[in-house]
C-alpha cells in the first residue's frame, strides 16, 4: 500500500515537474507580454534620451532614413519577419556584467524580433562547444561568444552548423585570422580593446597611480587558478605599476590576495590586509567583498578601492562616498551590444565586412571611471530606463533600415563613445 502511495506521489512529481517546465515557459511568455506593454512608455523615455545623448551620429542618419523609404519598418519587435534566435555563451550569471548585458538585450528584444538563448555557466572549452551544438539544434542563427575559451574553434564549430559567430577573442589577432580562415562568411568579427584583459588591468593601475596611491594590494582572483582572463589582468596591472614607477611615481604592490571569496584562505588574507599600511586595494574582479571589512576597520577614509566592474547599485553609494575611486568599465552597450547590428545585418543578407570581405576586429573605447560625476552620468541614464546606445541607433546601422549603413559607419559609431560622451 505504502508503495502504491509512493508511486502515485512519484507520478505526481513527474507531472508536476513537467508542468513546471510548461508553466515556466508560459511565465516566460507572460514576461514578454508584460515588457511589451511597458514598451511604449520605454519609447517615450528614449525620445528625450536621443535628443540629449548621442546627437552627432543620430541626426544625419535620422535625416536620411525617410528618404530611403525604410521608415515604414517600426521598432516594435516585428522585424525581422522570422524571429532571429541567438545563442549567448555565458560564464557567470551571478556576475554584474552578464546581468547588465542581459538587461540590455532584453530591451533590444522588445524592439527587434530576436530571442536570446543563454547558456548555463560554462567553464571549459568542451561545454562551450557543446552549447554551440545545442544552439544549432534549437534553431539559432548566430552565437555571441561572450565567454570564449576555445578561441577560433568556437567560430569554426558555428560555421559547421551554418551559424554566425560574434567574438573578438579578447583582441587576439591570430585567432581572428584563424576564425576568418576557418569559419569564412560565418565569422562576424568582434570588438577589441587591444589586449582587452591586459589593458583593463593596466588602466586600473594607471588610474590609481594618477590618484597618488603608493602602496597597493592586488586582489588577483582566478589568476592563481590559471583562468586566462585573470592572468592577463594581473599581468596588465603589474606592468601598469611598473610604468607608473618608471614615470616617476612611487607605487608598489605590497601584497597579493589570490583566489575567490568563500574560502578560509581568502578570509585570512583579507583580514591580514586590513592590518597593513596601504592606501589602495585593486581587484581584478569585483570589490564588494571588501566593503564590510574596510568599514569595520575604520579605514574607509584612508583607503581607495579599484576594480574591474560595472556601473550598478552595488557601487553607487561607495563611489559617491569616495571609497571606490576607480572602476574599469566595459560598457555593455558599446562593447557587447554591437553584436546585435552585426548579426541582424548578416541574417538579413547584408553582412558588414571589411575590405577583404571578411569579419573584422574593430576598436571600442574602454571607460575608466574615476569621478562620481562620470559614475552617476551612466548610473542615472540606466536608472531612468535609457541606454547609451538605443534601439534606434542600432536600426541606423542595419542596412534594412538605413541603406547607407556601412562597415565604416558601424566602426565610427561604436568607436566614438567615451565616458564623457554620456551626458
Amino acid at each position: 500500500m505504502k508503495k502504491k502511495v509512493l508511486s502515485m506521489m512519484l507520478a505526481a512529481a513527474m507531472v508536476f515537474s513537467m508542468a513546471a517546465c510548461g508553466s515556466d515557459d508560459a511565465a516566460g511568455n507572460d514576461q514578454g507580454g508584460d515588457t511589451r506593454q511597458e514598451e511604449p512608455s520605454g519609447d517615450e523615455d528614449q525620445a528625450p534620451a536621443d535628443e540629449g545623448g548621442d546627437t552627432d551620429i543620430q541626426e544625419p542618419a535620422g535625416d536620411e532614413t525617410p528618404s530611403d523609404g525604410a521608415a515604414d519598418i517600426t521598432l516594435d519587435g516585428s522585424w525581422p519577419e522570422e524571429t532571429v534566435k541567438i545563442g549567448f555563451v555565458g560564464y557567470d550569471q551571478a556576475s554584474e556584467q552578464q546581468q547588465a548585458i542581459t538587461a540590455y538585450f532584453d530591451y533590444l528584444c522588445e524592439n527587434f524580433n530576436m530571442e536570446i538563448m543563454y547558456s548555463e555557466d560554462l567553464t571549459d572549452a568542451q561545454s562551450e562547444l557543446d552549447f554551440i551544438g545545442q544552439c544549432a539544434a534549437a534553431g539559432c542563427k548566430a552565437v555571441i561568444g561572450y565567454y570564449n575559451e576555445a578561441k577560433e574553434q568556437s567560430a569554426i564549430t558555428c560555421a559547421d552548423y551554418q551559424m554566425y559567430y560574434w567574438g573578438g577573442f579578447g583582441g587576439d589577432e591570430e585567432s581572428v585570422a584563424a576564425a576568418v580562415e576557418g569559419a569564412g562568411e560565418y565569422y562576424l568579427g568582434g570588438y577589441t580593446l587591444g589586449d582587452a584583459e591586459y589593458e583593463a588591468g593596466r588602466s586600473m593601475a594607471k588610474a590609481l597611480a594618477e590618484q597618488g596611491c603608493e602602496k597597493v594590494v592586488l586582489c588577483s582572483g582566478g589568476a592563481a587558478m590559471g583562468v586566462p582572463m585573470f592572468v592577463s589582468r594581473k599581468q596588465g596591472f603589474e606592468d601598469g605599476v611598473k610604468e607608473a614607477v618608471d614615470g616617476g611615481a612611487t607605487m608598489e604592490i605590497v601584497y597579493e590576495v589570490e583566489g575567490w571569496p568563500g574560502t578560509d584562505a581568502f578570509t585570512a588574507a583579507q583580514t591580514s590586509v586590513m592590518d597593513m599600511d596601504i592606501d589602495a586595494i585593486a581587484s581584478t574582479f569585483d570589490v564588494a567583498m571588501w566593503f564590510q571589512l574596510v568599514m569595520e576597520s575604520g579605514k574607509a577614509d584612508s583607503l581607495k578601492l579599484a576594480c574591474i566592474g560595472e556601473v550598478s547599485d552595488t557601487y553607487y553609494d561607495f563611489f559617491n562616498s569616495g571609497l571606490v575611486s576607480v572602476i574599469v568599465y566595459d560598457n555593455e552597450e558599446t562593447c557587447f551590444g554591437n553584436a546585435i547590428p552585426l548579426i541582424l545585418n548578416a541574417v538579413s543578407g547584408t553582412k558588414l565586412v571589411d575590405e577583404s570581405g571578411n569579419g573584422f576586429l574593430f576598436p571600442v573605447e574602454r571607460w575608466t571611471i574615476t569621478t562620481p560625476e562620470q559614475y552617476n552620468s551612466v548610473y542615472d541614464l540606466h536608472d531612468a530606463g535609457n541606454w547609451v546606445v538605443t534601439a534606434e541607433d542600432i536600426a541606423n546601422l542595419v542596412v534594412a533600415f538605413n541603406a547607407d549603413a556601412t562597415t565604416d559607419t558601424f566602426k565610427d559609431f561604436y568607436g566614438s563613445f567615451t565616458i564623457d560622451s554620456v551626458k
Partner: protein, 324 residues
C-alpha cells in the same frame, strides 16, 4: 495479501527498468517540447559528441563503484591526463604520443588510488574528494603561467577532424570500450568478483578473491576510460585549460545513479548503467537548454528528475534500514 505481493513485484520490475523508462520518457517529453528538434540529425550528432566524455568515464567507473569504491576524483583524473596529454601533443606533434601519455597518466593515478584503497584502507569517498582538489591544484602548479594549452601551437600540425569525422571517432571509441567492458564485466571472472566484493567484502575475501589485486585492476580498467575521454577532449576542443572537465566528476556520478547503478556497488551493478545514465543526462541537458529555460530552472528540474529516477530505481533494493 496477494495484492500486496503483486505490487511488490511490479515495483521491483519498474525499479529494474526505471533507467530505461526514464531515458525514453526524457526523450519523449523533450521531443514534444522542442517540436522534434531534439531528434534532428544535427542534434543527434551533437548529443553523440556530448555524451562521449561522461559515458567513457561512467562505463569504466562501473567497475570501481561495483567493488564499492565511491570515486569522486574522476573529473580530476580526466583533467590531469588531458593537460599532460595536451602538453605532450604540443611538444611532440604526434597524436599517438598524446594517446599514450593520456593512458600512462591516468593509469598512474589509478595505481595511486588502488594503493590507498587496497593497502592503506582509507575512507575512500572522502579520500577521493580531497584527491580531486589536490590534483587540480597540482595541475595549476604544473601549468604555471601557461594557463591554457592550445594544440595549434604544436611543433608539427596535429590533424583537425571535422564534425562528421569526430562523430565517427567518438562512436567507434565508445562502442569498442563499451563492448570490452561489457565482456569483462559479464563474461569474465573480473566482473563477478567485483560484484561479489561490492556485495559483501568479507565473504568475497573468504571465498578466495584476492581483493587487493581486484581493487587495483578495477581502477586500471576505469583509467582506460578516463584516458580515452581525455584524448577525445584534446582532439575535439584543441584547447585544454585548468578548468577542463570541471563538471565531469558530478556528471559521471549523476549519470551512474540515473543509469541505475547502486551507490554501494554489489551484485546489481551493470555496465549499461554508465551508458544509459550518460545518455539520459545528455538528452536532459540538451532538451532543457533547447527549450530555452533559464539556468536556475534547468538545474532545479535536473535535481528533481535526478531524485525521482533514483527513487524509482531504488524500489528494487529497499530495506528496513535507512540507506547509508
Amino acid at each position: 495479501m496477494s495484492e500486496k505481493k503483486s505490487t511488490k513485484i511490479n515495483l521491483g520490475g519498474i525499479g529494474k527498468l526505471a533507467p530505461l523508462i526514464g531515458l525514453v520518457l526524457v526523450i519523449l517529453i523533450f521531443t514534444a517540447l522542442t517540436g522534434g528538434k531534439l531528434l534532428s540529425v544535427t542534434n543527434l550528432q551533437n548529443m553523440a559528441n556530448q555524451v562521449m566524455v561522461t559515458a567513457l568515464v561512467a562505463i569504466g567507473a562501473v567497475f570501481v563503484y561495483g567493488v564499492g569504491n565511491f570515486d569522486m576524483s574522476l573529473g580530476g583524473a580526466v583533467l590531469f591526463s588531458a593537460v599532460l596529454g595536451a602538453m605532450a601533443a604540443v611538444r611532440s606533434g604526434s597524436i599517438f604520443v598524446t594517446l599514450v601519455v593520456c593512458i600512462l597518466v591516468s593509469v598512474a593515478i589509478a595505481l595511486i588510488k588502488g594503493i590507498f584503497s587496497a593497502y592503506i584502507e582509507v575512507p575512500f569517498f572522502i579520500f577521493t574528494i580531497v584527491l580531486g582538489s589536490v590534483i587540480s591544484s597540482i595541475v595549476l602548479v604544473i601549468m604555471g603561467s601557461e594557463t591554457t594549452v592550445y594544440l595549434k601551437d604544436a611543433v608539427r600540425e596535429i590533424p583537425t577532424f571535422n564534425f562528421t569525422q569526430m562523430t565517427i571517432i567518438n562512436v567507434v571509441f565508445l562502442a569498442v570500450y563499451f563492448l570490452v567492458c561489457l565482456f569483462l564485466f559479464n563474461y569474465t571472472p573480473i566482473g563477478s568478483k567485483a560484484k561479489m566484493m561490492g556485495g559483501n567484502k568479507v565473504s568475497a575475501k573468504q571465498s578466495g578473491i584476492n581483493d587487493k589485486k581486484m581493487h587495483v585492476l578495477t581502477f586500471v580498467i576505469s583509467a582506460i576510460g578516463v584516458a580515452l575521454a581525455a584524448f577525445i577532449l584534446i582532439i575535439r576542443t584543441r584547447t585544454i585549460g585548468s578548468q577542463t572537465a570541471g563538471s565531469v566528476g558530478t556528471d559521471v556520478l549523476i549519470a551512474l545513479v540515473v543509469g541505475g547503478m547502486p551507490i554501494s556497488g554489489g551484485p546489481k551493478s551493470k555496465i549499461s548503467a554508465g551508458l544509459v545514465g550518460a545518455l539520459t543526462v545528455v538528452v536532459l541537458n540538451s532538451g532543457l537548454t533547447m527549450v530555452g529555460l533559464s539556468t536556475a530552472w534547468i538545474q532545479a528540474i535536473r535535481g528533481v528528475v535526478f531524485i525521482v529516477v533514483v527513487l524509482v530505481s531504488s524500489f528494487s533494493y529497499r530495506g528496513k534500514l535507512l540507506p547509508r
